[in-house]
């Protein structure tokens, strides 16, 4: 069935967002290094592009892969901008608020900082490979890179996160 304009697209998209938005926010939060507000921006941008490209998305043989690529594209695009948004008005309050720094243990804070300091693609590699346990090919597809790059980026990213975790345990200061 061909997607019609207007109401049909709206209804399908509405159902899709209702079902998938919560998971997208979680993924986006990890991809942005725990920045809930930037994550909300990322989700909104991704969903807007998805609405525009809805027929292509529906035609994709691997919609989840399409969605991951769209998220990563928006993430990387955001980092490519010569200026970065520091404030953005939204029509609604983001559904997930960023936890206050004092609400989490020191180790979590170290991991959050280390995650945020990773380059976006390395961060995405860690998130998809290690947290979501995607295979190397799926991760490479999401990142638009070779499988070798996924391996090296994931290994380096995990090393940095583990080092951060170790620092929090040993109390080492860098």
């Amino acid at each position: 069935m061909k997607v019609g304009r207007g109401d049909a697209r709206d209804q399908e998209f509405h159902d899709f967002v209702s079902a998938r938005r919560a998971g997208l926010v979680r993924t986006a939060t990890l991809l942005t290094g725990g920045d809930a507000h930037t994550a909300e921006d990322l989700v909104q941008t991704t969903l807007t592009r998805l609405y525009v490209a809805w027929p292509s998305f529906r035609a994709a043989r691997n919609p989840d892969g399409y969605l991951r690529r769209a998220l990563v594209n928006c993430l990387v695009d955001e980092h490519r901008r010569p200026w970065r948004r520091v404030e953005r008005s939204t029509a609604v309050t983001p559904d997930v608020e960023a936890p206050a720094a004092g609400d989490e243990p020191e180790a979590a804070g170290e991991v959050r900082r280390a995650l945020r300091e990773l380059p976006p693609r390395m961060r995405a590699a860690v998130v998809f490979r290690y947290f979501y346990e995607l295979d190397i090919a799926e991760t490479a597809d999401a990142l638009g890179c070779s499988t070798g790059t996924v391996k090296s980026q994931t290994a380096r990213g995990l090393d940095r996160l583990r080092a951060a975790l170790d620092r929090s345990v040993t109390g080492a200061v860098i």
Partner: protein, 228 residues
């Protein structure tokens, strides 16, 4: 679950169902973005049509030379009667269909032999080669409206609409027609890889022109898979 994974799970936060307002806002943003794209597309189509009409007006005058035995256009003013097949072809296609040899520096990741007349390489990265009419207001390399986007990917064409099969430079290809007149050509490269060419609806090329254009594109060793 290891400590590290537990911390990542904590950073990701709990999965909370979105509010109705949040979902409605997503739909509203999408509708605005789509409407804006269609408006830009409509404006560009109109502008290109005017340019084409202007060019044809000039052509109608220039063919009126002494001793000129080419097919002549009417000289009694608009509307012009076109007798040249090439002129007729241009009149049907405001974007212009003529392919001309590409004389610029070859982009990274691809080689290209011909381009639509009046078009340029707007951006080139190892994942995507983007062609656009010269002077197109939209210079955003991440938007493909009114442009030709060429990429290399492993995602095969899908969907419920059967594609049109054709041969491009001796290779099997399938063309998938999407909404809004956007067509995407998938040219098999072997090992499950495809050269993809997405053409916006401002291009009304026939299949032979598309095949001729696509046959002039090749991937190089430094191409990278697109990210969709």
């Amino acid at each position: 679950m290891s400590d590290l994974r537990q911390y990542l799970d904590r950073i990701a936060g709990p999965e909370r169902d979105p509010s109705t307002d949040a979902v409605d806002a997503d739909v509203a943003r999408g509708r605005v973005a789509l409407r804006r794209r269609r408006q830009v597309h409509g404006l560009m189509g109109g502008a290109l049509a005017l340019v084409a009409v202007g060019a044809l007006g000039v052509a109608a005058v220039t063919v009126e030379g002494p001793g000129d035995d080419r097919p002549r256009a009417a000289t009694t003013g608009a509307p012009t009667t076109l007798e040249s097949p090439e002129q007729t072809r241009k009149a049907e296609d405001p974007a212009g269909v003529r392919l001309v040899a590409f004389a610029g520096e070859q982009p990274e990741g691809f080689t290209i032999d011909v381009v639509p007349e009046g078009w340029e390489i707007q951006s080139s990265v190892p994942t995507t080669l983007l062609l656009a009419p010269i002077g197109l207001p939209d210079q955003d390399p991440n938007t493909f409206v009114d442009k030709i986007a060429i990429s290399f990917q492993y995602e095969a064409p899908g969907g419920e609409t059967p594609g049109e099969r054709l041969t491009v430079g001796g290779k099997d290809a399938v063309m998938w027609a999407g909404e809004e007149g956007v067509r995407t050509l998938f040219v098999e490269q072997g090992d499950g890889a495809y050269l993809t060419i997405q053409m916006w609806s401002n291009l009304r090329w026939d299949t032979a022109t598309i095949a001729e254009f696509a046959a002039g594109i090749a991937i190089t060793d430094d191409v990278q898979r697109s990210r969709g």
